[in-house]
Amino acid sequence: MLVDLRMPQVASRIDRQGAVNGRLVVEFQPATAHRVSRDGGNLVVRFEADQLDSSPLVGVLPDFVKSVRIDGPALVFELGPKVADIRTTEESERIVIDLLAQATAPAAPARANQPQDTPSVDPTAPPSVRTIVIDPGHGGDDEGVHGASGTIEKDLTLQVAKRLKAALESRGGVRVLLARDGDDNVPVDRRAALANNNKADLFISLHANASMKPEIRGAQVLSLNLDDYKRRGQGGVGASKPVPVVGGGTRVIDAVPWELAQIPFASRSALLASMVAQHLADRNVPMFGRATDVAPLGVLVGANMPAVLVEMGFLTNADDERTLASGGDVVGALVDAIAATVVEIRNGIPQPPAQRPIR
């Protein structure tokens, strides 16, 4: 854990409550002072903390909660069209928020003017994944790994990224951006900046691995290692400061240092890595001994969303190079596994594992 950093672990889930209502439960450790408020169509749970170590929302009820995001030390739930009122019960390490359906609430005249709103909501709409940035590793004069048969990592990552983009857009219905779509040398921070500036929900960096031992092979999914950033987090994050706005006055914003942007997402990124690794293994993609791992990865640290780096295989291994370069079944399985992970996240994750299964 970070020293001098207040970062409670927060998990939230949503279920039906009775026939017509929803119930949102937010659990957190350690006990942390907090405040629940309504902000337009949002429900805001703000903690007295620097950042949150939050797990993904479990359960899918888009009529009640369309999405959830972290805003500094606050969880912001975008409420669905059925929510007319809320009733909050607060305990030391838990908040129970009953989301009362429109039918049981007092008259809501504003709704009468927009009767088309409710029918227009697609219950299968993604609660949290709308935009994904795929990062084809390396590029330009940074060619990455060279395989013995001539495969170059920067070309392979771009080819797979384009296939993955097409698959996600057609199958997942999400917006997909590529951190590069040509043979360009893009600095690591610019890749994460593209995701941040487009408010991406996931960041996936594609790479191929190398080893001085040619027998080593297999795919691996990596996320950021928090331990390597302890020193950098000691100054605190999320400091609020007023900035002037057009027309006069000031507005308080939460300033998050670039190099700490990924820290609040580290646990969700580790979960994302486990999910991708599991889907890869399910599709018989050869896996490296440590199927998931953590490291101080420069391309991930600035990403302000769950982010992983997928090493698709070792280009220093003849079998891995051949199967990856051919664009055949293994590449198809890689694309399918990542797409399946995105679909799984959109549909809600059944159980939030307390620990990553593979290390």
Binding site: S211, Q220, R232, A295, L297, T316
Partner: protein, 204 residues
């Protein structure tokens, strides 16, 4: 005719010059002895480190045992190897000697994670215990890439310094005199990294 003997030069001035020369020689010897004492006295800050186990030997030949890091036989992690290296009189001198030893070709049967031909251009320590190690460009141009081997390269240097020298708390690698984002596109080198034994398998 009375022979006259030439007058002997007065003894007093010659005796004074001799004493003066002797005094200068004594001061010189004392200065040299003081320098030798200061230069070769084991530094207090390394008393708990492996570097402190210096055997008694002539100062210019003293050697210490240090833990250096090489790629395991499986190729997937680092292993420690205790090696004799020259003794350094100060933490920064010892740090330089450790890195120079680590940059040497691996002993028989072992593999170095550092590309061949890499040399150390400079090394300095800050008051906060951060070591800045400036390596030659071969550490980049000779690297085969991949996050695995890049991590092994980086943490070979980071661990060699932080494990052996308690005064070094973190290490930042520079290349050709400049800060770099990464060596091969993966491991974040924009700030000092602390010891990370997750990359090390105990034993050999």
């Amino acid at each position: 005719m009375t022979a006259t003997t030439p007058a002997k030069p007065p003894a007093k001035p010659r005796s004074a010059r001799t004493r003066w020369l002797v005094a200068v020689a004594v001061v010189g010897v004392l200065t040299a002895a003081t320098w030798a004492l200061v230069a070769f006295w084991p530094p207090r800050s390394t008393t708990n480190s492996p570097a402190a186990s210096a055997p008694s030997a002539p100062a210019d030949a003293r050697r210490i045992h240090a833990l250096l890091f090489y790629v395991s036989e499986a190729g997937t992690e680092l292993v420690e190897s205790s090696r004799e290296i020259p003794y350094g009189a100060t933490p920064v001198q010892q740090a330089r000697l450790i890195v120079e030893a680590q940059l040497q070709p691996a002993p028989g049967g072992m593999t170095s994670a550092i590309p061949a031909g890499t040399t150390m251009r400079a090394l300095f320590l800050t008051a906060r215990g951060e070591a800045y190690v400036d390596l030659s460009r071969e550490v980049v141009s000779g690297h085969s890439g991949g996050s695995l081997d890049e991590a092994l390269t980086v943490f070979t240097i980071v661990n060699a310094l932080t494990v052996n020298l308690p005064t070094v708390s973190a290490v930042q690698i520079l290349v050709d005199g400049k800060a770099v984002d990464t060596l091969a596109g993966h491991i974040d080198l924009r700030h000092p990294l602390e010891r990370s034994l997750k990359w090390v398998r105990k034993g050999q």
